[in-house]
């Protein structure tokens, strides 16, 4: 993740000594990584830039706690994931997806998904992604986070464990239950279509 030639450990050390130029460099280096995480787990009605700013605020406030045993990117990812999770938790309600909420393209994709013979066209992959995110929004924050990382980002259980701090069996059990909930959700939406 770090730009070639930049010594991240030295940069972090300088930030710890309150070097503001080093802090600016660190922000610029970590921005793409943090934005990627923030975009994957962004709650509804939350500005991605505000959330990224919140994550950076936490990183700088707790930089003393970074032991240096793991690459800074791992530690930062964990901070970002936990900040997103807290933000998702602050959403009081999770909408239930209804057929009427889908736009024309999403409805078409869902119909194709439901008919086992046809796959969504390559042109519909972006719509599929939006639809998948809408489906995930109906889940609890933890379930949503786990399925996003497992099924959309194809991360391993081990990677999720590193990023979230949850144990592997909890991740597997939650993923199993979350997929079951999504199956029910699909059935309900398709029922409304008929």
């Amino acid at each position: 993740m770090a730009e070639a030639g930049l010594d991240m450990a030295a940069c972090v050390e300088r930030v710890r000594r309150k070097d503001e130029d080093a802090a600016r460099v660190l922000v610029r280096e970590l921005y793409p990584l943090i934005m990627k995480i923030v975009r994957s787990h962004l709650p509804r009605r939350t500005d991605e830039e505000d959330l990224a700013q919140m994550v950076f605020g936490k990183i700088f406030a707790h930089l003393e706690q970074y032991s240096g045993n793991v690459p800074i990117e791992h530690w930062v990812s964990r901070v970002a994931v936990n900040t997103c999770l807290n933000q998702l938790r602050s959403e009081k309600c999770r909408p239930e997806l209804r057929w009427a909420d889908l736009n024309e393209a999403e409805a078409e994709v869902l119909e194709k998904i439901a008919s086992t013979s046809r796959e969504p066209d390559p042109s519909e992959q972006l719509v599929s992604r939006d639809l998948a995110r809408k489906m995930l929004e109906t889940l609890s924050p933890k379930d949503r986070l786990i399925l996003t990382m497992l099924d959309l980002e194809e991360r391993s259980v081990e990677e999720i464990r590193e990023r979230s701090g949850w144990n592997a069996s909890l991740i597997k059990v939650r993923a199993f239950r979350a997929r079951k909930k999504l199956r029910k959700q699909f059935a309900r939406v398709m029922e409304q279509e008929r």
Partner: protein, 95 residues
Amino acid sequence: MKPNYWKRLADAARRAPPEPAAEMPFGFDTRIVADWSWQREAAETLPWAPLLRGALVCASLILLASLAVNYQTLKEREPSSVAIADSVLRVSMLP
């Protein structure tokens, strides 16, 4: 076996082209660093703030605990003091 709709949707979603890399808005790093600097200065101006906050919390807890322990006594104090004052008055007003 029921078709796994979620798996099919997730497979299609994964094949979508990646979102364009996020470009940092102008001045974002300056804003973050300014905020960090302000937080540091605030912490340095009031180095005892966390200690004072802790002391305030402890004092409040002690106050609440002592109120809870002495609740019955405090509740009964008023009638008994009135009774004592009344008896003193009566005694002093006796011929």
